[in-house]
Structures are given as structure tokens and as C-alpha cells.
């Protein structure tokens, strides 16, 4: 399939338009169409895998068209080892979200589904882009449906949360826009301007400008992640968002921040990255400990999970700025893990909220015997989040901690205590909700998890186990891309001549040819 990525990208938007044109009373049909569209997108995205060469570090299945010629902006799509699983995570989470909200969206169902599909379009565009401006367009585009999702379908304090979410993110990203324009102008100095990642990776940026640009980009992504102390919008947004919104937010949207670090900050500003990595790693570790401690004292389950996100994403940030192969791989896999396990936790909290209209820990207790199936799924998700060996969280955290130790020993030791804290607050949560005597009579009649919800959670659990048992499936395709990224950063730090990736490939090919000829010549001689 030549235009596979374009089809994957645009199909959700086509679906959104189709749903928008349906009569608003056809509730069942709207749900079925939305689900079908998202499942088809997932199936299409799985078709990337056979076409994907796991040994290659480069962008694959690429498509490129000129979009705005005078500025050097292209419509450019591609996947590499870094974005591959994030694309699949996106296409995977969307049907899960639609299924999980099968019966719980009571008002404006049509508009909800349109927003969800539009959101998927935005997320896919950001992960598939190979051009910075093109990326930026989607990075911003995502805000609108998310704003609507929180603001229309959210909880009591939704407006405050929605506006806070929007303004925080836009403040970061508009400043980044100034940086993007500057990069474009800079790339135009040497000839035709270009925003293609590969060209930007080879750009020589004056040191003063580099530090400034580094911080502008870092701010934008740090708000998105969110890195402590830019995290204050996140608990509000999570708590007020409807279940589906929370899942998408934790599952995918936050990953754009960490993805942005890996994709733009490290390779475009390598000198500044080396200079300031300690700062970001420190903030990451503060986030780990702070998030865990705050989560510990939350009386509200959803808030607890939201703060645990701050903690878990701290690991990703630490891993990214430790700049080793293992830590970077760990961060990427941890992004996927966090999407799965936190997504599942939000989903399950949503399930229980719908039944009891409460998320307070104090309102539960001992319900394990009433809702056994639900309990099992919840505990698996919790254990995945805690990082129990055999489940996905362990792989990610282990790689990050093992990889970071060499770079930041003290920080890593502190970060490790975050793992222990996570075990404490999450098991505490399980203990309070599921075990002990049933104190509230109304909990005796709680219905167990329903069919649609089951369908939504089980695939998440399957992947948690799969990644936990067989991480190699997921790590192998990202390895070359991560290695190349680090090599690029390393080369730039050492002040080596800067080559674009294409040039490097050509160089490598020439080198291989020369080797081959030498060997042939040697054979000739020996004969």
C-alpha cells in the first residue's frame, strides 16, 4: 500500500465528517459508525508492521509533497522506530475509548464522537509528521477537540479545567512557534528553507540562540508532559474530563510532550541538551517523588491516578535526558506502558463512578467479593502500574533506571524510591477499595463489569502482559532509530562535522562499498 500512512491519517477525519452528517437521534448508528471507523484505522495501522523494516533506523513508508513552497513546508509522513508504537498506541486506544463510553455519554453523543475522531486525526498527524510545521499544525489542532471534550462532557468544574488546559498548552506552543519560525529562517539562510526533521537535525545553530531555543521548545513539551512544576493543569483536566477524555489524555496526549523531547529537543539542540540535561532529569525526579507523595494522600481515585501520571512520566523524562540507549528505549516503551495501564485505570475508575457516582475511597471497601471480575482487572492494571515483573511497567522502569544510573547515579537512586512509593499508594488504593469489610450497604448490590467495558479493558490487559513477557517484540524495531538518534546527539556534542541523516546513510553506503572492494581485492591477491 503506497499511501498507507495518508489513509491512516485521514480516515478518522472522514469518519468524523460522516458522523457529523448523521441525524443526532440515531444514537446506536452513531456509535457503531464511530467504532467501526476507529477499528478500521487500527487494523490499517497494524498493516504498517509487516511493511516496517525493524533493522532500519530511518523513516519508513514515507510520503512527501510540497505544501507551502515559499516557506519550505512539506506534507511529509513517515514512521520510524520512535514513533511506530506511539502511532499504534493511538489507533489502539481510540476504539477502546469509544467502547468504554458506549453507554455513559448521555448528552450530545454525536458531537462527542466527532470530537473523538477529530482528536485521533490530530494525534496521528503529530506522530506521523516528518516536517516541523506540519507537526505543529496537528499539535495545536488536537487542543480544540480536547478542549470541547473536557468543557462539554466533563465534571462540575469542567470549564475552569478546560480553559486552564488550553491556555497552559497554548502558551507553551505559541512560544515554540516563534522558535520554529526562527529555525525555518535559519535553514533558509543556507539555501531553500526546510522544516523536514532530517534537515533540521543537521542545522548549525549559534550557541546563544541554541540555549534560548532549547528552553522555548522544552517549555512547550514540559507543559504538555507535564514536568514539575508545569503540571498543575493536569490534575484539574484529568479529574474534570469525562472517562474517555482522561484515557486519551493520559494514554496519548501527554506522550506528545515526551515524544517532542526525543524528536526535537535532543537532536536539534544537542549542545544545549548536554548542558541542561541535569536540569530536566532533576525536574523529572522531583516529579516522580512529588507525584507519588501527592497521590498517596488523595481521597479521590481519579485524582490519585492523575498524580500517579505525574510520577510515572517523571521516569520517562529522566530516561530521555539520561541519554543512553537503554534509558531512551525504556522511556519510549514506558510511554506506551503508561498509556495502557493508566488508560486502564482511568477506564475502570470511570466504570465504578458510573455505578456509584462517587470516586471517593471512603465510599468503598470490601467490594472484591461483589465485583470479582472488575477486581481482577483492576488489580492487574495496578500491578502493571506498580512495575511488577512479568507485566509491562517493570520493563520500562527497569530499563530507565538501569540506563540512567551511569549518567545520573544519585538521581537514579532517588528515582528508585519512587517505585517503592508507587507500590505503597497503589496497593493502598486496592486495599481500601476492594478488601476489608463492606461498610456501605449500597455497595452490596454493585453490578459487575459490563460487556462493552470488558471488551474495552481486556485488550489493554493483553498488551500489558505481552509487553511484560515478550518486550523484545516491541523493543527491537525501536533499537536502530534510538541508536541513530543518540549517535547524532553524540556527534554534535563532540563538534564533529554535522551531516544530515541522508548524508550519513550515503556515507555509510560508500564506506561499506569500499570495504567490500577491499575484501574482494584481498581475495584476488590471495588467489
Amino acid at each position: 500500500m503506497e499511501y498507507l500512512l495518508s489513509i491512516i491519517l485521514w480516515f478518522p477525519l472522514v469518519g468524523a465528517v460522516a458522523v457529523a452528517l448523521m441525524p443526532k437521534t440515531a444514537l446506536q448508528a452513531i456509535k457503531v459508525v464511530a467504532l467501526t471507523v476507529s477499528v478500521v484505522v487500527f487494523v490499517l495501522s497494524v498493516m504498517i508492521l509487516p511493511a516496517f523494516d525493524a533493522a532500519s533506523p530511518d523513516f519508513q513508508l514515507t510520503e512527501q509533497l510540497t505544501w507551502i513552497a515559499v516557506w519550505g513546508v512539506s506534507y511529509a509522513l513517515g514512521v520510524d522506530g520512535i514513533s511506530l508504537w506511539l502511532v499504534l498506541l493511538t489507533t489502539f486506544i481510540t476504539p477502546v475509548v469509544i467502547l468504554s463510553q458506549w453507554t455513559s455519554v448521555k448528552r450530545y453523543l454525536k458531537e462527542y464522537m466527532v470530537s473523538m475522531l477529530a482528536l485521533e486525526f490530530g494525534m496521528l498527524g503529530a506522530f506521523l509528521a516528518m516536517d516541523l510545521v506540519f507537526f505543529y499544525v496537528f499539535f495545536e489542532l488536537m487542543l480544540l477537540p480536547m478542549y470541547l471534550i473536557i468543557g462539554i462532557w466533563g465534571g462540575a468544574n469542567r470549564i475552569y479545567a478546560a480553559i486552564k488546559f488550553f491556555l497552559f498548552t497554548i502558551a507553551g506552543s505559541l512560544l515554540m512557534l516563534a522558535g520554529i519560525i526562527y529555525l525555518g529562517v535559519l535553514s533558509g539562510r543556507g539555501g531553500a528553507p526546510s522544516f523536514m526533521f532530517q534537515d533540521l537535525y543537521g542545522l548549525t545553530i549559534p550557541p546563544e540562540a541554541q540555549t534560548l531555543l532549547f528552553f522555548v521548545f522544552t517549555l512547550a513539551f514540559a507543559i504538555k508532559v507535564p514536568v514539575f512544576p508545569f503540571h498543575t493543569w493536569l490534575p484539574d483536566a484529568h479529574v474534570e474530563a469525562p472517562t474517555g477524555g482522561s484515557i486519551i489524555l493520559a494514554g496519548v496526549l501527554l506522550k506528545l510532550g515526551t515524544y517532542g523531547f526525543i524528536r526535537f529537543v535532543l537532536p536539534i539542540f544537542p549542545e544545549a541538551t548536554f548542558q541542561w540535561a541535569w536540569l530536566l532529569a532533576t525536574l523529572g525526579v522531583i516529579g516522580i517523588i512529588y507525584g507519588a507523595l501527592v497521590a498517596w494522600v488523595q481521597p479521590d481515585m481519579k485524582k490519585l491516578v492523575a498524580y500517579s501520571s505525574v510520577s510515572h512520566l517523571g521516569f520517562c523524562v529522566l530516561g530521555i535526558f539520561a541519554l543512553t540507549q537503554a534509558s531512551l528505549e525504556g522511556s519510549i516503551i514506558q510511554m506506551v506502558n503508561h498509556g495502557l495501564s493508566t488508560g486502564a485505570l482511568f477506564l475502570l475508575v470511570g466504570v465504578i463512578y458510573e455505578r456509584r457516582h462517587s470516586r471517593m475511597l471512603a465510599d468503598f471497601g470490601g467490594i472484591a467479593s461483589v465485583v470479582p471480575l472488575f477486581t481482577v482487572l483492576f488489580i492487574i492494571s495496578v500491578l502493571a502500574s506498580v512495575g511488577l515483573p512479568g507485566l509491562n511497567g517493570f520493563i520500562g522502569e527497569f530499563l530507565i533506571l538501569a540506563g540512567s544510573y551511569g549518567t545520573f547515579p544519585v538521581l537514579t537512586i532517588i528515582a528508585t524510591s519512587g517505585v517503592i512509593l508507587a507500590a505503597i499508594y497503589l496497593l493502598w488504593l486496592v486495599q481500601k477499595v476492594f478488601f476489608g469489610p463492606i461498610v456501605h450497604e449500597e455497595n452490596r448490590t454493585l453490578p459487575d463489569i459490563g460487556r462493552h467495558e470488558m471488551l474495552a479493558v481486556v485488550p489493554l490487559v493483553i498488551f500489558m502482559v505481552w509487553i511484560g513477557i515478550r518486550p523484545e517484540t516491541f523493543l527491537r524495531p525501536m533499537r536502530p532509530a534510538v541508536a541513530q538518534m543518540l549517535e547524532l546527539v553524540e556527534a554534535r556534542r563532540n563538534g564533529e562535522e554535522i551531516l544530515t541523516i541522508e548524508q550519513r546513510n550515503r556515507e555509510a553506503a560508500r564506506h561499506a562499498m569500499a570495504e567490500l572492494r577491499k575484501r574482494e581485492a584481498a581475495q584476488e591477491v590471495s588467489r
Binding site: W67, I68, A69, V70, W71, Y108, E111, Y136, V137, E140, L141, L143, L144, Y147, L148, G151, I152, R158, I159, A162, I163, F166, L167, I170, A171, L174, L175, L177, A178, I181, Y182, G184, V185, G188
Partner: protein, 483 residues
């Protein structure tokens, strides 16, 4: 003294659009006088005329009337902006005028004549032609703002505009006189000869400041912006829509001509600094005061002041790219602001009452189309992709960064962040606020709906496929610098 014959061959081709628009304006008035019952003809005739002029632009190119009148791709581009603005305003006005029982041929005629005035401002290479165009425009505006004679604030607004406008005209005339005194001619390109070695005479400086003040008034550039919120609020809403964009574009093209003569010649930084200060003031005042507004028309007025500030960044840079950026911004701004005002004009309310945010509560669900396009216009005004507003802002900031005016770009971006807040609040009311019982439902007719659709499609088209517009604008901008 050499004498250039005033009437050249083909002179009528150079002013054909103006002649057509003026004549149709007279026909409209006569028609209304002789057939007062047949008002159905008025709007369609106006629309057809405008469309015809858009399609068959003046066939001649070059300089006419003793080199005081330019017809080029640049003037065509600005003509296009004026005509599209007039077209959308006509389409939005028809329903409004019917609803308010005001429809009359003179309304459309005034709109057409005002357009003629703007075209003169765009084409005049001589300050006197610009002034005559400006006055033609201004007189039409006085009448249009006061058109809703039954309501008090409309009359008050017109009086305000008239008094302030008279001052502005005075400034411009005085500036022109000083200009003549300094250069011995009223030709705009005569200015270059008056500036020798980068140090203009005090007379030229005062003339420039006077002209800047006068045009600043027409642009609603801070600190000359005081009239705008009151006048927009009082004017009939479709008139406010048109008033907020078209005359600004006309003032911009005239100002660009003057600035592009002055700034490259006089190396003294002071003039650029003056312009930059005005741009910054506009962006800051416009955006911060807009936050406090609950009346939609006043909010749009302050946001308009801010947008003029963004455009001024590009004006003061005087490069081919910068002028193209102003042109693109003017087109985009015309579409999105007329669109936004257009939705407000659909609110069927007693005109003396302010149209507040509460009036659009829940519109996204009660009137999905109007709600959707209003949100689109807001996102475009805020400069978010994939709308044209993003492209326009990107262009301006890019030009600024390229020219090394990074401070201006940063202030522009910081104030944009502020602006997101109040544009987003409109979307919040449209989609997240429940309508209360008394909220009037907007009245949507075919004509006004198509006007909104044209604006919305234009916004998306420029946002997604900007390249053809860039080519046109850059090519047009080369005209002004090469001469």
C-alpha cells in the same frame, strides 16, 4: 514646466470599475425612488455588480492621469479585498435591513460609493487623490453608521465618528499641505527627493507624523483607537462588520505607500521606532482591554485594534515579503472579522441592547451551523491552525524574525497568548454554556448563510492551501518596491 495631458488614451479603462460602481449606485437610488415597492431587486443588482467587477477587473495596467493613478497587480489585490468585503456586507445586510424594515437603495449605493473611495485610496499616487478617496469613503461611512435612524446609539455613533473623522481629515490635510511645502509636490514618490542623506527636514517629519495620525485614526491604531468600540457598537451590525475591515485595508495600502518611501530613505531609526511603538501599543491595549469586554461588538473592536498592531509590524519592515504579508493579513482579517460580525448580526435583538456573550450561549447546539462557523472565525482570529489566521500570523512573525525584529515578534506572540483567552471564551459560550429561555435564536437566511459559508470556506482554503495567495501577494508587492 512640462505639461502632461490629463486625459490619456484608454483612461476610461483605468477607472472602469469605479465608473461601474458609481453608476450602479445611482441606478439603485433612482430605482428605489421610482419603484419603491420593488425592493427585491436592490440587493441582487448590487451583488451581481460586485461580482461582475471582481470577475472583470480593470483591463488596463500602468500609470494614468499624469502618473497619479496606478493600476497594477497590487491595486487589483486590494480592489479584490474591498469588493469581497462589500459583497459579504451586502449579503449580510439584506436580511438585517429587512428585519429592521430599513431596506432602501441608498444603503447599497453608499456601500458601493464607499468602495469607490477605497479604490481611489489604493490607486492614488498623489496625496490629493488619496484624500479625495478618503473623504468619499468617510462621508459614506457617516451615513451608513447612522443608517438605523430609529435607534439612539446609532446616531450617537455616527456623530462620534463624524467629529473624530473630521479631526483626522484635518490632520491628513494639514500633513499634505506641509508635505507640499517640504517637497514642492503632493506626489507620494516625491518624498524621496526631499530626503537627502538620510536626514529629512523637520517639515517632512511633521508632515509624516500628521499623516500617520490621520491614517492611524482610520486604522483604529492605538492610541488613535478610542472611537472604534463605540462606533462599532452603535452602527448597524453588518455595517460594523464591513467598517471593521474594508476601510482599514484602504488606509493600510495608502500608509504602505508612504512608509515604503520614507523608511528606506531616512536611515534615522526614529521613524521605525515610532511605528514600532504604535504597533506594540495596539497589540497590548487591544488584547488586554478585549478581555474585559462582554459585548461582542466591543470585543471584536478591541481585537481589531490588536490585529492592526500585528499588521503594523509588517508595514514598518518595508520588504517585499512584508508587504505581501500585510496583503495576506488584510484578506484573511476581512474574511474572519466580517464572518464573526456576521454571526453577531444574526442575533435578532432590539438594536439598543448590547449583543453580549450570553446571547450566543448554547448556539453550537441550537444553531449548529452558526455556532460552528463562529468558532471557526474565533480560532482563526486567535491564529490557530489549520485556519487562515494561523497562516497570516505565521507570515507576519516570520517576516519580523527574518528582518531581525525579534522583539516585535515576541511581543506579538505573547499578546496572542492573551488573545486566545477571550476568543476561547466565545467558543465556551457557544458550546459549553446552556442557553437560558430568553436567549434569542439567530435568524439564518439563505443569503446571510451563504455569506458566512463563503467566509468560512475562504478561511479554510487559505489556511490549507496558502501557496496561490502567497504567489499573488508577493508578485503584487514587488510592484510597490520596484517602481
Amino acid at each position: 514646466m512640462s505639461f502632461t495631458p490629463l486625459i490619456e488614451a484608454n483612461w476610461y479603462l483605468a477607472v472602469l470599475p469605479e465608473i461601474i460602481l458609481s453608476c450602479v449606485g445611482m441606478i439603485l437610488i433612482l430605482w428605489d425612488a421610482f419603484f419603491p415597492k420593488a425592493k427585491d431587486v436592490l440587493a441582487p443588482l448590487t451583488i451581481v455588480t460586485i461580482l461582475a467587477v471582481i470577475l472583470f477587473q480593470s483591463p488596463a495596467s500602468g500609470l494614468f492621469f499624469g502618473n497619479t493613478w496606478e493600476v497594477s497587480s497590487l491595486t487589483r489585490l486590494f480592489d479584490f479585498i474591498f469588493l469581497v468585503a462589500a459583497l459579504l456586507a451586502t449579503m449580510l445586510s439584506r436580511d438585517y435591513l429587512r428585519r429592521e424594515r430599513l431596506e432602501g437603495g441608498e444603503f447599497y449605493a453608499l456601500l458601493l460609493w464607499a468602495t469607490v473611495g477605497m479604490m481611489m485610496m489604493a490607486k492614488g499616487l498623489d496625496l490629493l487623490i488619496v484624500v479625495v478617496g478618503l473623504e468619499t469613503l468617510s462621508i459614506c461611512i457617516f451615513a451608513l453608521v447612522a443608517y438605523h435612524g430609529r435607534i439612539a446609539i446609532s446616531n450617537e455613533a455616527s456623530l462620534k465618528y463624524f467629529l473624530m473623522g473630521a479631526f483626522a481629515t484635518g490632520f491628513i490635510l494639514y500633513g499634505t499641505a506641509l508635505f507640499y511645502g517640504a517637497t514642492g509636490s503632493t506626489r507620494i514618490d516625491g518624498l524621496q527627493t526631499a530626503i537627502v542623506g538620510g536626514s529629512p527636514s523637520p517639515l517632512v517629519t511633521i508632515a509624516f507624523i500628521m499623516l500617520l495620525g490621520g491614517f492611524g485614526f482610520k486604522l483604529a491604531l492605538a492610541p488613535f483607537h478610542g472611537w472604534a468600540p463605540d462606533v462599532y457598537q452603535g452602527a448597524p451590525t453588518p455595517v460594523a462588520a464591513w467598517l471593521s475591515v474594508a476601510p482599514k485595508a484602504a488606509a493600510f495600502i495608502a500608509l504602505i505607500r508612504i512608509v515604503s518611501e520614507v523608511v528606506p530613505m531616512a536611515s534615522s531609526v526614529a521613524w521605525t521606532t515610532v511605528l514600532a511603538t504604535l504597533a506594540i501599543l495596539s497589540m497590548v491595549i487591544g488584547n488586554f482591554v478585549a478581555i474585559a469586554q462582554r459585548d461582542l461588538k466591543r470585543m471584536l473592536a478591541y481585537s481589531g485594534i490588536a490585529h492592526v498592531g500585528y499588521m503594523m509590524i509588517a508595514v514598518l519592515l518595508v520588504r517585499q515579503d512584508a508587504i505581501a504579508a500585510v496583503a495576506i493579513y488584510a484578506i484573511v482579517y476581512a474574511l474572519m472579522n466580517i464572518g464573526a460580525f456576521g454571526v453577531v448580526s444574526l442575533l435578532d435583538k432590539n438594536q439598543n441592547d448590547p449583543q453580549t456573550l450570553d446571547d450566543i450561549a448554547g448556539m453550537g447546539f441550537s444553531r449548529p451551523f452558526a455556532g460552528l462557523v463562529l468558532s471557526l472565525f474565533m480560532f482563526s482570529l486567535a491564529g490557530l491552525p489549520p485556519t487562515a489566521g494561523f497562516i497570516a500570523k505565521f507570515y507576519v512573525f516570520r517576516v519580523a524574525i527574518e528582518a531581525g525584529a525579534i522583539n516585535l515578534a515576541i511581543i506579538g506572540i505573547l499578546t496572542s497568548i492573551v488573545s486566545v483567552f477571550y476568543y476561547l471564551r466565545v467558543v465556551y459560550f457557544v458550546y459549553m454554556k446552556e442557553a437560558d429561555e430568553s436567549t434569542p435564536l439567530p435568524v439564518l437566511n439563505v443569503l446571510s448563510a451563504s455569506a458566512l459559508a463563503i467566509a468560512a470556506i475562504g478561511i479554510l482554503a487559505i489556511g490549507i492551501f496558502p501557496s496561490p495567495f502567497f504567489r499573488t501577494a508577493v508578485q503584487a508587492a514587488s510592484n510597490i518596491l520596484l517602481r
